[in-house]
Amino acid sequence: MKVSKKLSIYFLSVLFLIVLIVFILNFFDLKNNSSYDKSWPVILIISVFFSTLIVFIQIGSLFFDRDSSINALMTCIGILLFSISSEDSFSYLEKTLIPNSSIFLSSKVFFIVVQLIAYFLIEGFTIRLFIRDFNFTYKKHEVVVTAVLYIISILLLGAFLILEYIKVIIFFYSSIFIIYLYWLIRLLFFSYKIEQKSINAGLILLSNFSIGISFFISTINSLNTSLLFLRGIPSLCAIVSNLITVFIYIDFAYRTTKSAYKNEISEQKIKELQSSLLTMQINPHYIFNSLNTIKNMYSYSQEKGDKGLELLSKNLRQIVNMSENKLISLNKELDNVLNYVEFENLKQNTNYNVIFDIDSSDFLVPPLSIVTLIENSLKYSKINEIEGGFILISTFEEKNYMKVRIYDNGVGFNLMQVASKSSGIKNTKERFKLLLRAKFIVKSKAGEGTEILIEIPKGDNHERISN
C-alpha cells in the first residue's frame, strides 16, 4: 500500500471523527449551552485543519495513482467535506465575531463554488467508476438518461446553493424537492444495473443518496424550526455517508494491494507452467519420431513428404508461439488441434474421428491447452480400436459462462489412478484456473468414455480477441 494512501486513511478517519463530533453536537442542539460556545470554535478549527490536510494528501496521492477512479472520487468527497466544514466554521464566526464583515460573505460564495465543483467531479468520477472498475455497460438510451440526470443534478445543486445564499424562499421548496427526486431516480436507475458482486457500487450509491437526503432535510430543518424531530436526520445521513465512504476506501485499498500481490504470484506461476509445457512438447522423442515419419512420407511421394514437413513446422511454430502469448483465440487453438490430429494420422497411419461442434468461438483460451487434452485423449482412449470411436469438441455459451466440452467414447480410465499422474492435464487445468478463473471438471469411468468440461466465466476475456 502506498504511503500516501495509508496516511490519508488515518487522517480521513480522524477527520470523520471530528466531523462526527460536530454533527452530534449540532444534533443535540448544544449551541445554547455556554460551555459549548467555548468549545465550538476549537472543534471547528480542528475539523477545518484536518479536512484541509486530507485534501492535500489526497491530491498528492493522485500523482501516484492517477488511474484510480476511487482515489479521485475520495479526493472530491474530501474537497466537498472541507468546503462544508469550512463553510460551517465561517458561518459560525460570522454570527459570533464580526456579523457584517464582507470577508465572510465572499468566502461563503467561494465555498459554494467549491462545493459545486466538488459535486460536479464526484458525479463524474462515480460514473467513471461504474464503467471502468465495476464494468457497467451502458446502452445508448441509458447513456442519454445518465447524461440528462447528471446535467440536471449540477443545475439543481447550483440553484439550491444560490437560493440558500440569497434566501429566496418562493422557489426553494420546489427545487429541493426536485433534487430529492433526482437522487431517488438516480438510485433506482443505477440499482437495477448493479450485479450482486459489485457490493461497493451499491454502497457508493447509498453514500451519495444519503448526502442528497442530508441536503434536503437540513434545508427544511433550517426553514421550519417546528420540525424538531427532523433536525438529527441530516447529521445521521452525513455520518452514515462518511462511514460508508471510509469503509469503501479501506476495502478498496486492501483489495487492490492483495490483488497486486496475487497477480505477481500468478504471473510467476504461469511462466513456470508455460516453461514446463514447452519442455514436455519439444522433446527429442517427438522431434526424431516426426522426422522419421517425414522421411518415410518422402519415399511415397514428394507431395506427401512436403505435407508432413508443413504439418510438423506448423506444430513446432504453435509450440514456440505459446511462449509469446498467454492466451489465444479459440479458433486458433482449434486450428492447432486440427493440425495436431492431421499429423498424428500421418505418423500413425490412422484416421481419428474428431468432431468440432463449435457453436461459439468468440473467446480466448491458453495456447496448447485443448491440444494437450486431445493429445491425452488420443493416447489413452483407444478410439481407433473401437467401432464408431470419436472425440467430440463442443463449445457453447451460457448466461455467465463460455463452456468447452471434450468427450470421447473410448475406454475411459480410473480417475484416481491417472489424473494425478497426468502432468499434461494438471498443467492445462492450472493455466485455465490462473488465467481465466475457469472451472475444470474431469469425468471418466473405465468402459464409459471420458468427459472434460471447462467453464470459463464471462468478463473481459469474452470481448477481447488477441488473434
Binding site: E310, R317, E324, N331, L334, D335, I355, F356, I358
Partner: protein, 253 residues
C-alpha cells in the same frame, strides 16, 4: 518485374530457385547471399520492384537491411522469408507499409503464389470445377478440405449460386439418414472445418451466419457459372458426379 531473393544460406536460395523455376508469372528472380556490396551495386544499376529476404542473417538483420534499402529506393515492396515467428509489432514502422507478407520456412508454395500475386496486384481467384468431380484450386494448387463433408457443404453452397443455405436445407441433403440432433453436430463440424480451410487459403468468400451460410461469388471462376452465363456452349461432363443431391440440378441442366 525484377525480384531480389536474399538469404545467407545457399540451400535456401536453391530451394527457392527450384520452387519458382516454373512459375507462370511475369517475375524475374535474382538471387543473392547477404553480401551488401553486390546487392547495392545491383540496385544502383537495375530497377527492382520486390525483395524477398530472410530476417536472421550472418552479416546483417533483414529488417535493418530493408531499412537501408528503402531509404534510397522507396518504391520496393518486401516479403520476409523466415523461420522465425514474426508478429506485426516486430516489423519496424519505417518499413511496415512496404511489407506485403511473411513467408515461413519451410517454403509453402501456395503461400508464395499468394504473396507474389499480391506483389503483382493480381487478385487471387478461386477456380472451381463443378462438371465432373468437384475440385477447387487456388494459386494453381488444389484446395485441401479437412473433411469430405465440409467439401460437400461448399459444393452445395456453390450450387445455390449466391442464395442463402440454411442449416435445415444442408442437413436434409447432406445427412438425410441422421437423427436431427446428431445431424446438427455434424453440420457445425462441417461449417467449422470449411471456415478453417478458407482461412488457411486466405479466401474468405463465405458469410457465416447463425444457422445459415451465404456465398460471395466475387473472384470465383466457376465452370458451372460460366455455363449458366452461356460462356460455355457445351457441358464437358456430368454435374457434380460425387454427390447424389446434384441429380436435380443435373436434370435441370
Amino acid at each position: 518485374m525484377n525480384a531480389l531473393v536474399i538469404d545467407d544460406e545457399r540451400s535456401s536460395l536453391h530451394l527457392f530457385f527450384d520452387k519458382t523455376i516454373n512459375i507462370d508469372k511475369d517475375i524475374n528472380f535474382i538471387y543473392f547471399v547477404d553480401d551488401l556490396d553486390h546487392i547495392f551495386s545491383f540496385l544502383e544499376n537495375h530497377k527492382v520492384d520486390l525483395i524477398i529476404l530472410d530476417i536472421r542473417m550472418k552479416t546483417i538483420n533483414g529488417f535493418d537491411l530493408a531499412k537501408m534499402i528503402l531509404k534510397k529506393y522507396k518504391d520496393i515492396n518486401l516479403i520476409f522469408f523466415t523461420g522465425l515467428l514474426v508478429d506485426e509489432t516486430d516489423i519496424p514502422l519505417e518499413i511496415k507499409e512496404k511489407v506485403i507478407g511473411i513467408l515461413y520456412k519451410p517454403l509453402n508454395e501456395a503461400k508464395l503464389h499468394e504473396l507474389l500475386n499480391k506483389a503483382l496486384n493480381k487478385e487471387t481467384k478461386l477456380v472451381v470445377r463443378m462438371f465432373g468431380s468437384f475440385d477447387c484450386f487456388i494459386n494453381d494448387h488444389v484446395v485441401n478440405f479437412t473433411s469430405t463433408k465440409s467439401k460437400e457443404l461448399f459444393a452445395l453452397l456453390l450450387c445455390l449460386n449466391g442464395k442463402l443455405l440454411t442449416m435445415e436445407h444442408a442437413i436434409t441433403l447432406l445427412w438425410p439418414d441422421k437423427e436431427l440432433s446428431k445431424a446438427k453436430i455434424l453440420y457445425r463440424d462441417a461449417v467449422w472445418r470449411l471456415r478453417s480451410t478458407l482461412n488457411d487459403i486466405n479466401f474468405n468468400c463465405v458469410e457465416f451466419k447463425r444457422a445459415a451460410l451465404m456465398l460471395n461469388k466475387d473472384n470465383i471462376e466457376c465452370d458451372y457459372y460460366d455455363y449458366l452465363a452461356n460462356k460455355i456452349s457445351k457441358r464437358p461432363e456430368r454435374f457434380l458426379i460425387n454427390y447424389d443431391w446434384s441429380i436435380e440440378t443435373e436434370n435441370y441442366l
